[in-house]
């Protein structure tokens, strides 16, 4: 070790070095570094900083001037920061050695690590002094944060989380529309779509596909697969690659090319046990051989569908006949092109096509919808917004309640704070400590909230209806936890700051004693806010609950309880023409009808709530106005099997052969709207097939959705229009679910290779359709109950605390002759005045809110005064109870004791 003393050295001054250093500072902007370091010194206790701060800056600058290069300067900064944090902690825990060790309990000015730890220790101790208040506040917060986080995890999954495709914002769905018929978002024509792709100039690429159930045969068990037949570019439009094998190439779509298939991961696992050898194998799809060329990745989800297999469509889309709208289109926009601009561009092309192909394209336009919006749908979007808003209000109520509790305590602690202030703690220190209490409270509430949120998320996700598209993912991940953290931090400020500022008020309190009219006013204002919020949530809850009841108990026009659906697709090769199909279905209906326990059987091309959207336009004979109508194709027994009442005339079916006159049954709505003042049976309408005789009238019934009113509808004979895929509706004598397996076997006894799918009871189908509304209503109902509890606790807390504060005044009143009942009335009146003010504010806000709910609350008029009235009555009763309990206590004040306590 070389430690030779250097007595001759310029020991104190080192002028030269100092001069050099200053020059260096000027050169490299170390003044800024000094300023920055000075800011960091705030970590240290004030006393230490005041004594050594300036010299510490000098020393730091000396360190920094020795550093050359960016990396080495960064190292100096890092080391200096670590040093400061360590020093701050040491100085705070040990305190001033001059005042002895363990002086950490002395409140010192400053901020940073050490003081933070100290504040937290103080906060925990403070909270344990009032365990009941702390527990009430913690539980309230946990509920608020938990509910908010659980809802956020779902809203995040639906609306914020990127869809599982690269650059998902560039993906759009392209629709055809014919506004003059009221047809929007309908399927596209492939030739039109290809023109949009080529000519609009906004698409990177566009794929056209069609849903095509495909029969898998030749294996041990016939199966009907969900199939997508697509132009070969679908996967590249989505930006998805296969996990094994290859994707389609243009060659796969060439006329005469061998059939190829790409399997979805789930189907590959289910059917082939994940066997990689399946690549290259041949599958019989619709009795044509297809070679398996690729397998999709496990995390691939295709929009709102879960297809099993993809095949390449044959031929050039441009050669498709125009006029048939039976395909769907998805496109990837060029970078930087907005959906609105693309919308304009495809409409321009569609208008040009109207001129070029006047015979087929007249009136047809196109529109663009982002994929997310397409997937989400209007109801989920509105529900997400409404639930997010509701849970936000609930969180606000929770914060208000906690603020109330803290305010109440603040009154009691004013003396303590005043004493501390008098002993030298600055207001900043006191506020910081009170905020630290809020932070500890929020941290505990937040942690418990996250646990509740995970539980809530599971409940919500389990309650989501089956038809939520599989691309959405719901997880309690970093984003959601980040949200919870943000909410917790926000709530600290919301509920902590005001009481903290109030409590840590100047020390005048020491003389006058702990009595604060101001905090009473503030608490009163919080009650007003809270009552208004509770009313909003109650109204929303009752609107949605009422709507759910209305949906479930509505008159569907058919009887859901005893019906089973079976969907059947006979293959084209085995049953090529109408006659064979007709014979097959006739045999199927007979066989099913002969099953013991079956009361009736009928067929339709798509049964109620199966999502069919078939429509046509008709013209009433003698008029020239084209009217849109829903169209169904039915067999003889259909209306009877479904329990749809035949009001007049007869049904249509097997007796109406292809060569007989075209006949139809209409529903009441059709008769009212299109045949006013005419006896419907015997009237004549004209559709694309020519003149159609109306031979029967049936009751209106729900078809498109549980939340949709019946539309004008026309029912034609399946014998005259042999549609291949049909739903067989079977009515059972008793519980229909017991029959499902027998019915399936009965179908297979006719043809062992006939794929049967979507076998469900109608009650299950209804439940699935109601499921989404049910979830929303149950959540909102839960929030309404929570808000009622929070509101009651708030009113009770503020009134009880107010009574406590006014013991003296009440004592004086009673000494002056006020009786107990009078005191009770006074307290209740004051409390109810605040609640009444809150109700008034709530009513003003509830009216627009109710309007906003109309989209997700079918079957209920949200402006129904009974709904608002009910919520008002419930809330008023709760407010009365929550005021009366403390009032009763107030009337028990003993004037002698209250006055002598001064």
């Amino acid at each position: 070790v070389s430690s030779e003393p250097e007595p001759e050295r310029d020991r104190g001054g080192r002028k030269h070095a100092a001069h050099e250093r200053r020059e260096h500072e000027g050169r490299t902007g170390q003044h800024a570094a000094r300023r920055r370091y000075r800011r960091l010194l705030a970590l240290l206790p004030g006393e230490f900083r005041r004594r050594f701060g300036a010299e510490m800056e000098d020393t730091f600058v000396a360190h920094l001037s020795g550093a050359r290069g960016r990396a080495s300067r960064l190292r100096v900064w890092a080391a200096a920061l670590a040093d400061l944090v360590g020093a701050a902690a040491r100085q705070r825990w040990n305190g001033d050695p001059g005042r002895g060790r363990g002086a950490g309990n002395v409140i010192t000015e400053g901020g940073g690590m050490g003081s933070l730890i100290q504040d937290v220790r103080y906060a925990v101790r403070g909270l344990f002094r009032h365990p009941l208040t702390a527990a009430a506040a913690g539980v309230t917060l946990a509920l608020g944060i938990g509910a908010a986080t659980a809802i956020f995890s779902v809203v995040d999954g639906l609306m914020l989380r990127p869809l599982p495709y690269p650059e998902p914002d560039r993906l759009v769905v392209v629709w055809a529309e014919k506004p003059d018929q009221g047809w929007y978002e309908t399927d596209v024509n492939p030739a039109d779509a290809w023109d949009w792709r080529e000519r609009a100039g906004v698409f990177d690429d566009l794929a056209v596909y069609v849903d095509r159930p495909m029969a898998l045969s030749g294996a041990d068990r016939p199966d009907l697969l969900g199939g997508i037949e697509t132009t070969p570019n679908l996967f590249s439009v989505l930006g998805v690659d296969v996990a094994a094998g290859r994707a389609f190439t243009p060659g796969d779509a060439a006329e005469g090319a061998p059939g190829t298939a790409v399997l979805a991961h789930g189907f590959w696992q289910r059917r082939f046990g994940g066997d990689p050898e399946v690549l290259g194998r041949e599958l019989l799809l619709d009795e044509r051989p297809h070679t398996v060329i690729g397998i999709l990745p496990a995390d691939f989800a295709f929009l709102d569908e879960s297809p099993d297999v993809f095949t390449a469509s044959r031929g050039d889309p441009t050669e498709a006949a125009r006029g048939a709208h039976d395909h769907e289109a998805i496109a990837r926009l060029l970078p930087g092109v907005s959906a609105a601009a693309a919308n304009q561009a495809v409409r321009d092309v569609a208008r040009a096509l109207q001129r070029e192909h006047a015979d087929t394209n007249e009136g047809w336009l196109a529109s663009i919808e982002t994929v997310r919006r397409f997937l989400l749908g209007d109801i989920a979007l509105q529900a997400s917004l409404v639930l997010a808003a509701a849970v936000g209000l609930l969180l606000l109520m929770a914060c208000v309640n906690v603020a109330n509790l803290l305010l109440a305590r603040a009154g009691a602690r004013q003396t303590e704070m005043a004493v501390r202030g008098a002993l030298g703690a600055g207001r900043g220190v006191l506020v910081r400590q009170l905020l630290a209490e809020s932070a500890v409270l929020a941290a505990v509430g937040g942690l418990a909230g996250v646990v509740l949120a995970e539980w809530g998320r599971r409940v919500i996700v389990a309650g989501l209806p089956e038809n939520v598209p599989p691309v959405f993912e719901f997880a309690l991940d970093v984003r959601v936890l980040g949200f919870a953290l943000g909410v917790t931090a926000g709530s600290v400020l919301t509920f902590g700051l005001v009481p903290a500022l109030r409590t840590a008020r100047p020390a005048a309190t020491l003389r006058t004693g702990p009595r604060s009219r101001g905090s009473g006013r503030l608490a009163g204002a919080l009650v007003v806010v809270q009552t208004a919020l509770a009313l909003l949530l109650l109204v929303a809850g009752s609107v949605l609950t009422r709507s759910l009841v209305a949906l479930r108990s509505q008159d569907f026009g058919w009887r859901a309880e005893r019906v089973v659906y079976l969907r059947v697709t006979p293959s084209e090769t085995r049953y090529p023409a109408g006659a064979e199909l007709d014979a097959l279905y006739r045999e199927l209906e007979e066989r099913l009808a002969s099953v013991p326990g079956v009361e009736g059987v009928g067929a339709i091309q798509s049964a109620p709530l199966q999502g069919s959207n078939w429509g046509t336009t008709v013209r009433v004979a003698g008029t020239d106005e084209e009217r849109p109508a829903r169209v169904g194709y039915v067999s003889d027994g259909y209306f009877d099997a479904m329990g749809i009442a035949l009001l007049a005339g007869r049904t249509v079916g097997s007796r109406d052969g292809p060569d007989e006159a075209q006949v139809a049954v209409v529903n009441e709505r059709f008769a009212q709207l299109y045949l006013p003042g005419v006896e419907p049976v015997g009237a004549s309408v004209i559709d694309a097939s020519g003149a159609v005789q109306v031979v029967g009238l049936v009751r209106d019934h729900v078809e498109r959705g549980v939340n949709r009113a019946p539309e004008p509808a026309l029912y034609r004979s399946l014998t005259q229009h042999p549609i291949r895929t049909r739903t067989l509706a079977v009515r059972a004598e008793g519980d229909p679910s017991a029959l499902i397996e027998v019915l399936r076997q009965a179908v297979w006894s006719v043809d062992g290779d006939l794929p049967v799918w979507d076998v469900r009871t109608l009650a299950d189908v209804v439940e699935m359709r109601v499921g989404g509304f049910s979830l929303i209503a149950r959540l909102m109902g839960g929030f309404a109950m929570l808000s009622l509890v929070l509101g009651a606790v708030g009113i009770y807390g503020v009134t009880a605390h107010g009574v406590g504060q006014r013991r003296h005044e009440i004592g004086v009143r009673m000494a002056l002759g006020a009786d107990r009942a009078g005191v009770q009335r006074m307290v209740v009146r004051q409390s109810l005045t605040r609640a009444g003010l809150g109700l008034a504010v709530g009513i003003a806000l509830a009216i627009p809110l109710a309007g906003a709910l109309s989209g997700i609350a079918p079957g209920v008029d949200p402006r129904d005064p009974r709904l608002l009235g009910g919520a008002l009555a419930v809330l008023a009763a709760v407010a009365l109870l929550a005021s009366w309990l403390p009032a009763r206590r107030a009337s028990g004040v003993d004037p002698v004791r209250a006055l002598s306590a001064e």
């Binding site: 070389s2 430690s3 003393p5 250097e6 007595p7 020991r11 104190g12 001054g13 080192r14 002028k15 070095a17 100092a18 240290l44 230490f48 004594r51 050594f52 300036a54 010299e55 510490m56 800056e57 000098d58 020393t59 730091f60 000396a62 360190h63 020795g66 080391a79 200096a80 040093d83 400061l84 360590g86 020093a87 701050a88 040491r90 100085q91 001033d96 050695p97 001059g98």
Partner: protein, 115 residues
């Protein structure tokens, strides 16, 4: 006899720096840095924390600046070692020296290399 075995390395180096005469904080840092060939960097928090603790132990004390030493507007505090400080430092040096003797006897370190 006080137990000086707990003498922290940076306390030792600060005392050693002051053993030659009064210095202010930054000068102590620079002296230690130079003497240890950059091995010991006394960062500000550690340095001034130690100076305060050493003052409290009464091993060093504040002193008037030497004549004609720049005090940067009087903000530089100079420290000198006290008698107790010398005792503590010497004890530590003796202790280290005894260990060094043992080490050399076992031919550890450069000084112990066989000639």
């Amino acid at each position: 006899v006080p137990n000086y075995e707990l003498l922290r390395p940076h306390w030792f180096q600060i005392l050693l720096a002051l053993a030659a005469g009064p210095l202010h904080g930054t000068a102590i840092m620079e002296e230690v840095l130079e003497r240890t060939e950059g091995e010991m960097k006394l960062w500000p928090g550690t340095l001034y924390g130690s100076l305060r603790e050493l003052t409290h132990e009464a091993w060093i004390r504040e002193t008037d600046p030497p004549e004609d030493a720049p005090t940067e507007g009087g903000r530089r505090r100079f420290y000198e070692i006290t008698a107790e400080g010398h005792v503590a430092l010497a004890a530590e040096v003796d202790r280290l020296a005894s260990w060094v003797r043992v080490a050399r006897a076992r031919q550890v370190g450069r000084g112990g290399e066989p000639a």
